[in-house]
Symmetry: C2
Subunit: 419 residues, 2 copies
């Protein structure tokens, strides 16, 4: 069988199939799993890129039935039941799990795809980091750039990614770049503007947490623009609905994702944002032996709404699909997927976070922050990465410093690799 | 005053000027200092890229007289005494220190510049890592590539860089990739071939150490080709003088460097490899107030020979230049530079190295390796990086594993940055 994608959903499926008599091939374009919830910290020089990337082959070492194939999936031939890969290769399958994730949705806003900085892949994160630090270097060399928006960072989207990114950018500026550019730049001219369409941040949370998040961010140099949205963007400005024009060289796009374009090429029924519609057992209707899981799937929750694109949803879905395939192999009928809500959380900055548990309790400030740290540390893949993340966090907390604030833009491979 | 280059020579100069009444501007194209002696470990997945890169602004924080400017130096206007930067910017100077380092010297060998992988910058290191791991992934997808040379890694140059790289590639294959590709690839088909023009490895060392290095490497899957050289290279083969043709997708070029091309644009006298000829006090003849230090300078040693391009030479030279400038500022005449040889060392692999001290003693095997580890750990810039390097090494040693074996090829910045 074939699993497309080595994200949370795909890897959970693969590892939970270890006692099921099937040969598993995990296909991904990257040879590493990306721990997406911490990408914003890579973008803001809090973590190394390698801290949130774990080699898939290393993860699958302990699972002798699973192998990895580095390739881009281009489609599926349903008649012969083969997954089509780049370079004209194919992989036969009996069971297929589509866990290819999402990509950024710019909603057709003029300039957003060209000038916006998304934050969904590791490349996105290092690109944003290079750009952000590069704007400070450019402004230090030519002060006039400040008025032209070099130090104004607009973040679109008031969900967890937008809130965390805006908070981390503000903190990087105040705690680190202020010292780095002392004498060269008046860092107080830097602005972080968070734009959210709705009338509050973190719309998935309860009103008290929303207010707390907004108040904390406003106290930490993040300017809030609620009830408006980005109308257009170019290299030096961001225009908001209502007419405000911000001189800004940077728009971080955290306002939405849509299904990986692979979904549209599969000839299956898709719903909102191009997500694959799945049956209650996460199987794809009309495609026997096929399941979809994670951000590429539109999964219904207990109250009839669609479950959000979060790691816990993908991971629980992956475990369910592994069980469903085990049931099919054993000749049984899979049961429906039931999502157990574990709550939601978002950091706002140093010693500040909001966390809500599904049965009621909420944690704000330092307790919420510590809960966030512990939970994310627990879920980072690999003990070496876990240790490195922990040390980076401890270092940053104790020294008010950031480590890897390097502008490092590797070349494209110069040598044509024969394949 | 201006210091061109934030390598070992430039930074030592800048930091040792802290009590001298001069305003120092350090210019570098990168906003980070690269710890070059460990680049081969980045290339072979032993260390993160960030472990060997330290932000220059962070290093200069404690030196209030020094500021950093991220720019590419394109030349010097000697009449007006300005350093010319990219983007039509300039920096005036009274004193100038040229510490711009070196670049790879391919000696005009056909194909070497196009197909060879140098190992002098951080970009070089990550590009080689991506290529090396990518060849294993490609061979796992198509076995036929093995016969075509996908798993044959030729290293040109038997000096410390070549010896260390060949040893580290062999170790990566045997200790790590063997497990990663179990079932997918017969890793014993991989070859590491080290080509050296002279009749022994490490020609700067004494005969006993040379023999020990050669014997240790030969016992660790490194095939030696001594007394020959690379005659030409293309995408799939390396041809040696004498006629041997190796089917190989990879040629690591550790066979020589030459001065940064900036040297040729300064209108000063250059010697071997384009290096700037300097007076005994490291000043540049005919250019008052100008000094050259590190790999870009041709510095004579006590026995009349040219000092090698090593970090200790650059660092001692930097300290000397700081003293010389202090003398000039105080109206005194600078004395001559005297290099204190601290010995040479090279790792061969796990628990194996050769180290020679100038007054006689030599350390081979585990003692040499521990001396190497300790010395390099000591010289890595920044406590955070030091801790990270130490943990990576300890982790690799204890688990026989490597951390960051990820193929990560960031895009070029998609958004045009206004400057």
């Amino acid at each position: 069988m074939v699993i497309v994608g080595a994200g949370f959903g795909g890897l959970e499926t693969a590892t939970h199939l270890k006692d099921v008599p099937v040969d598993v091939t995990v296909v991904d374009r990257n040879n590493f799993h990306t721990f997406q919830p911490l990408l914003y910290q890579v973008a803001t020089s809090g973590l190394n890129a390698a801290d949130v990337a774990y080699p898939v082959r290393g993860l699958l070492r302990r699972y002798p039935t699973a192998v990895f194939r580095r390739a881009e999936v281009t489609g599926v031939d349903w008649d012969t039941r083969h997954v089509l890969l780049d370079g004209d290769a194919t992989l036969p399958f009996d069971y297929l799990v589509v866990a290819a994730g999402a990509c950024t949705n710019y909603f057709g806003i003029p300039g957003a795809a060209e000038y916006g900085f998304p934050l969904y892949t590791l490349r996105d994160a290092t690109r944003l980091r290079n750009h952000l630090l590069g704007r400070f270097e450019a402004a230090a060399a030519r002060q006039g750039l400040v008025d032209e928006g070099a130090l104004t960072f607009v973040v679109a989207g008031g969900g967890p990614t937008g809130v965390e990114t805006a908070g981390a950018v503000a903190e990087l500026i105040d705690a680190v770049l202020r010292k780095d550019f002392r004498g060269a730049l008046d860092v107080d001219q830097a602005r972080v503007v968070l734009v959210e369409m709705g009338d509050s941040l973190l719309p998935a949370m309860r009103p008290g947490s929303r207010r707390h998040a907004a108040e904390t961010q406003a106290g930490r140099r993040v300017e809030l623009r609620l009830g408006t949205r980005v109308e257009s963007v170019d290299a030096t400005s961001v225009k908001l609905a209502g007419g405000e024009v911000l001189a800004a060289h940077t728009l971080v796009w955290a306002a939405g994702v849509q299904a990986n374009p692979l979904a549209a090429r599969l000839g299956v029924e898709c719903g909102r944002g191009g997500r694959i519609r799945v049956a209650p057992d996460l199987s794809v209707t009309g495609r026997p032996g096929t399941f979809a899981v994670g951000d590429i799937a539109q999964v219904g929750g207990p109250a009839g709404h669609t479950l959000p694109g979060l790691a816990p949803v993908a991971m629980q879905g992956g475990r369910h699909v592994a069980d469903a395939i085990a049931a099919c192999v054993a000749g049984r009928t899979p049961g429906p997927f039931r999502y157990r809500d574990k709550g939601t959380m978002a950091t706002i900055g140093r010693a500040a976070a909001v966390a809500e548990l599904p049965w009621g309790p909420r944690l704000w400030g330092t307790p919420g922050w510590l809960a966030w740290l512990g939970l994310h540390l627990w879920y980072v893949m690999g003990n070496r990465n876990r240790l490195s993340v922990f040390l980076n966090w401890a270092w940053s907390y104790l020294t008010w410093d950031r480590g890897p604030r390097v502008i490092f833009e590797p070349d494209q491979p110069a040598r044509p690799a024969p394949d």
